[in-house]
Symmetry: C2
Subunit: 158 residues, 2 copies
């Protein structure tokens, strides 16, 4: 079965729709990335609510991040994050070696410049979920070799 | 787990996005429904390709419809169609007693007029999947009592 496919294909349609109307200027591109990030944020918050209805509280920040890497990621992408690293000072790097939303893109270097558009929604998704858990963060992403992808989470101390 | 939630929440964001820009006139509403239907169509085609990669051929039209009601519906909505009826003359009625994409709406009658907007994508989804199986169709939907929903498929003989 292709369990992650409905989400993946719908995400792709959303991208196409948002970018079709765009004029291609840098400002417009920036606005689109922001829109996608906000949509991701809301979806992340909504998902978090449903996923944690019956979950016990988390004991610390690392525990929260593990939840994002396992339960949350699996719910959306049907796989876990492959690697989680932290500097123990509020920065976490979540690596997905086969990020589903990049799967449609070919592995070539020429597609790297397109990647922000494919990553913005998911950055928002993580930020929204963390926010729902009371953790304020900044989330960025980068692709080095397709379709592997790293999400960097910087916790904002309140 | 809330396995259908990522798709459901993303679909809701897409609706909000498309309708936010709309002026609310009837023509605009119609265009939005058409856009959603086309997006559904493409997602339906894409999903179908992935789902039938290893599937044997279908023996007849009814067999195709059963596949839509079971495998296809489960992939997208994590449940099967509750009831399938046919007049054996090319009309099929697929009833879902708890249609996921209506789940956010309250059960009151006052929301019935909103329902085309919530159903258009899925009409396209079914039409796209059937098209991928070589079956040309017209798909419409109606809600009588929320969140139950009937999709009517009219097969177009070629």
């Amino acid at each position: 079965m292709a369990d992650e496919a409905p989400f993946q294909l719908l995400h792709y349609e959303l991208l196409q729709y948002i970018y079709k109307a765009a004029d291609g200027g840098d400002a417009e591109q920036g606005r689109n990335v922001t829109k996608l990030e906000s949509m991701g944020f809301r979806v992340g918050q909504g998902l978090l609510e449903r996923l944690t209805k019956d979950t016990a509280r988390f004991k610390d920040e690392l525990d929260v991040m593990k939840f994002i890497c396992k339960d949350f990621w699996t719910c959306v992408f049907k796989k876990q994050i492959d690697n989680l690293r932290t500097n123990h000072q509020g920065i976490y790097v979540l690596q997905d070696n086969a990020f589903r939303l990049l799967a449609q893109l070919s592995a070539g270097k020429q597609y790297l410049e397109l990647s922000p558009k494919y990553l913005a929604f998911t950055c928002g998704l993580v930020r929204g979920a963390l926010c729902g858990l009371g953790v304020k963060s900044i989330v960025t992403a980068e692709v080095s070799v397709m379709p592997a992808c790293k999400f960097q989470v910087m916790i904002q101390k309140m």
